[in-house]
Amino acid sequence: MAIKQHWWKALGVALVLYSIVMGFLGTVPALWVLHETIRNLYFHVTMWFAMMTMLTISLGYSIAYLRNFKREYDVIATEAANIAMLFGAIGIVTGMAWANFTWGEPWPNDPKLNGVAVGMLAYVAYFILRASIDEISKRGRIAAVYNIFAWVMFLVFVNALPRMADDSMHPGQAANPGFGALAPGMRTVFYPGVVGWILVGIWLLNIRKRSREIEYKLLQNELN
């Protein structure tokens, strides 16, 4: 339990904890429609940032896998996509709760929402694709190819398309101000929260990857 190896886990937890405490106690600008729910930004939007980071990690390891076919890379790519789906599911559910309050319905026909839903569908397809190939090295290769495709399309979905559409209610889209317009008092809570959740996500990924390794080694021992 050396501190050297584990400091980032503690940092992640501390940053999230900080964003929870300051998220409620800090001052936020008084805004119409949103009122106090502007604080959801600290908890709902951080999920998307964490999800996007996990998907990018997954992409990175898929590319690395195609370069030298190391089995571990494929495991990390899969598990990162798994954790990303967890964050995405939480993001959608919290988003629905928030939208129900501010926009009057849980699923307004917003390009960002639809984009995220279809993007997640692409990753569900990724897991189905994995399940349908038995041979391990072939599965890794083909899934990596599809993962790269899915990532590009996901980016098009959640970033390019809503920006082009003129009817999105999310920040940074259409005529809405982006995160650059965030009140300075909120920035000092929001960005630490993002980093904190990303670190927690990496921690989850770390645990899942290690347990998959144990599984693999057990299987190897059985075969020998």
Binding site: L121, S132, I142, M153
Partner: protein, 218 residues
Amino acid sequence: MLKQIVNLIGKEFILEFRTKYALGAILLYAVSTVFICYLSFGTIDNKTTWNALFWIIELFAATNAVSKSFAGESKEVQLYTYTLASPGAVILSKIIYNIVLTIVLTLVTVLVYTILIGNPVVDMVLFIETAILGSAGFASVLTMVSAIASRTNGNLALMAILSIPLLIPILIIVIKLSLIAVSGMQLQDPTGFLVALAGLNVVTAALAYILFPYLWHE
């Protein structure tokens, strides 16, 4: 490389015309789907519905047409092709061939759809541009997915699951564009969308070109 591509495209066309039933089956699929829609709808007054129905028919017709491009080939034929040509040439020739096939299919569908159900399109030029760019996009995504699906165990069922999420960005842009063409109201400048659609096609083809070698390599 270029010669290989040209030769391979020629091969695809020769094969297609030798087995005329394949092309006929695709066209029959599109025509009969339109006919079923005609029987159940009659004429469609609502422009949005007209547009949506057209693209749904188009989406499934294209999926049907392209899905056989890799799965339809026997293992031996594939191995033989791969010994003769580079993987990049194989995928590019398939994509180009499928683009041509899907565009022909789309134009036939537009014709039959117009005759049977009617055509409320105001800006026909924009509509045809959209149809051509959109079917090119469908074809390039579907070719790549068909290559992926052909490497799995149950490939035809997977085809739909794998391709639909990847096709939706193209479908969204295409529906937006053709809605502008149908209504004739220039609320938004369509050029941006056309450029985005063309860009998406190029990105898809480039990704397919880069990634295909990893698929066929056993």
